[in-house]
């Protein structure tokens, strides 16, 4: 799915140059669940943004299904995000003025589907996360766990190839965290998705097939765990 070769990303802060990524090499396979851990400020989120085409590397290549994300035009990158990549955020990032179903439907806007198909897909996505009866509720009327379920439905409704999750359980209590991870594990397994998840939580990371550690802008891999995304919750 992904092949990263010597990827760097530097930022300029005044006269200083900060290397968020200092040469990352990795291959992420199809249907793989990779967890990325590491201290704050060591490049985890930057790496996720590069995998999602939200940012571009300073040097190196990021091949996504054989195409280099770093050299794509903005319009093509937007098309890749719209069709193939689903994002899940720590703070859910739902539009506060829109009910759950419209929040989910927004992910289909760039795909230019008919209204009937959009409605069907939204209903299926909300059903998959167990929120059919909350479709008309605003984010403020939902619990944290329910908001994250809406976020997951929004990521899945486009039928993506990849899920990129940035601390998806970071704002949830332990019980809700386990429910969300069980749900994600089931959906990833059932739909044959690739998932890259940034997390501080070792319990969550242990559910992944493989764990990488970000340190000083470099990604170091540990051995594959026997448990993982192929397991049913």
């Amino acid at each position: 799915m992904y092949k990263l070769t010597n990827v760097t990303r530097t930022y300029h802060k005044g006269s200083q140059t900060v290397a968020a990524l200092a040469g990352v090499d990795a291959v992420i396979g199809d249907r793989e669940w990779l967890a990325i851990q590491g201290p704050t400020g060591h490049g985890k989120t930057t790496l996720l943004q590069l995998l999602g085409g939200l940012d571009r590397p300073t040097s190196g290549t990021i091949l996504f299904d054989g195409k280099d994300l770093g050299t794509m035009g903005e319009a093509e990158l937007a098309r890749v995000r719209a069709g193939s990549i689903g994002f899940i955020f720590q703070t859910f990032n739902l539009i506060p003025t829109l009910p759950a179903d419209v929040n989910v439907e927004l992910a289909l806007a760039p795909l230019r589907l008919g209204a009937a198909e959009r409605r069907t897909r939204v209903a299926q996505a909300l059903h998959a996360v167990g929120l059919t009866d909350r479709a008309g509720h605003l984010p403020a009327e939902l619990s944290g766990g329910q908001q994250q379920r809406v976020g997951i439905a929004r990521a899945l409704v486009k039928d993506p190839a990849v899920l990129l999750a940035d601390e998806p359980t970071g704002n949830l209590d332990e019980t809700t965290r386990d429910e969300i991870i069980d749900l994600l594990a089931k959906l990833v397994h059932d739909r044959g998705l690739t998932m890259v998840m940034v997390t501080h939580d070792s319990t969550v990371a242990a559910r992944a097939q493989r764990t990488g550690q970000m340190k000083d802008g470099r990604l170091l891999f540990s051995s594959r765990t026997s448990a993982g995304g192929d397991q049913q919750p």
């Binding site: 939200l54 937007a78 719209a82 539009i95 829109l98 806007a109």
Partner: protein
């Protein structure tokens, strides 16, 4: 229904929810534009009324001015005062309009700034810059049109108030009949006498279709400028930087 229309339907759903939940911000933006449009109409109508009153006064003085230096001086003073009033009106209208455009543009930009993370999320969902631009422009256009229409209504109301409060001028030119003749008329025989008794000149502030068209045109222009500015800002957002903004 074709796909473009479907796309618009979802955008309008988004717009409807946005306006409903951010109604006070939308109202403030519309009110800023409405005040500018209303002032353009009221001041322009008042200036037209001043010119009409000036014309009536000058007509009344016409005969007396032929024979009286004092009447000629008064006629000149009326013309000067009227010109000053019209100039002042133009400056007031221009200042009001500039302030109104500035308020509308600032509020639109503030709305984009408040929603940076929301717009970044849309980019993460794959919305192209064109679609985000269209969304921001549509929102601004709806608010701007509402503000412009409200401004026209407010302008009519303001003009009616100005006309109601406007004074009725009384021109009494009888006194000029005995005044000393002007040097130019010293060798000329008296031509005509001043009309008998005072002449009442009612002040009115007429609104012409041209004034309304000007105000509406300026309102639309202001809306487009503010919308374009906001949309340009939204389209240029880096999704990674936008998502990094604190919610």
């Amino acid at each position: 229904m074709n796909r473009l229309t479907e796309d618009r339907t979802l955008r309008l759903t988004y717009l409807r929810h946005e306006l409903r939940h951010r109604r006070w911000q939308a109202l403030a933006t519309a009110a800023g534009l409405a005040v500018g449009v209303a002032l353009v109409i009221t001041v322009s109508a008042a200036a037209a009324g001043t010119r009409a009153a000036q014309s009536r006064v000058l007509d009344s003085l016409a005969h007396a001015a032929n024979t009286s230096a004092a009447a000629a001086t008064v006629a000149g003073a009326v013309t000067t005062a009227s010109g000053l009033a019209a100039d002042l009106g133009t400056w007031v209208a221009a200042a009001a309009l500039t302030a109104s455009f500035t308020i509308t543009a600032l509020l639109t930009l503030a709305s984009v700034a408040r929603r940076v993370r929301e717009l970044g999320t849309l980019k993460a969902l794959g919305w192209p810059a064109r679609q985000i631009t269209a969304q921001v422009l549509t929102e601004t256009a709806v608010t701007g049109m509402a503000g412009t229409l409200a401004g026209v209504a407010l302008g009519f109301a303001g003009t009616a108030v100005v006309a109601a409060l406007g004074p009725t001028l009384t021109v009494d030119v009888a006194g000029f009949a005995g005044a000393a003749p002007s040097p130019a008329s010293q060798n000329s025989p008296p031509k005509a006498l001043a009309p008998d008794g005072p002449v009442a000149v009612h002040f009115s502030a007429p609104i012409s279709p041209g004034i309304v068209a000007l105000a509406v045109g300026l309102g639309i222009l202001g809306t487009l400028l503010a919308g374009a500015l906001g949309a340009w800002r939204a389209a240029r957002l880096s999704p990674a930087a936008a998502l990094a903004q604190a919610g």
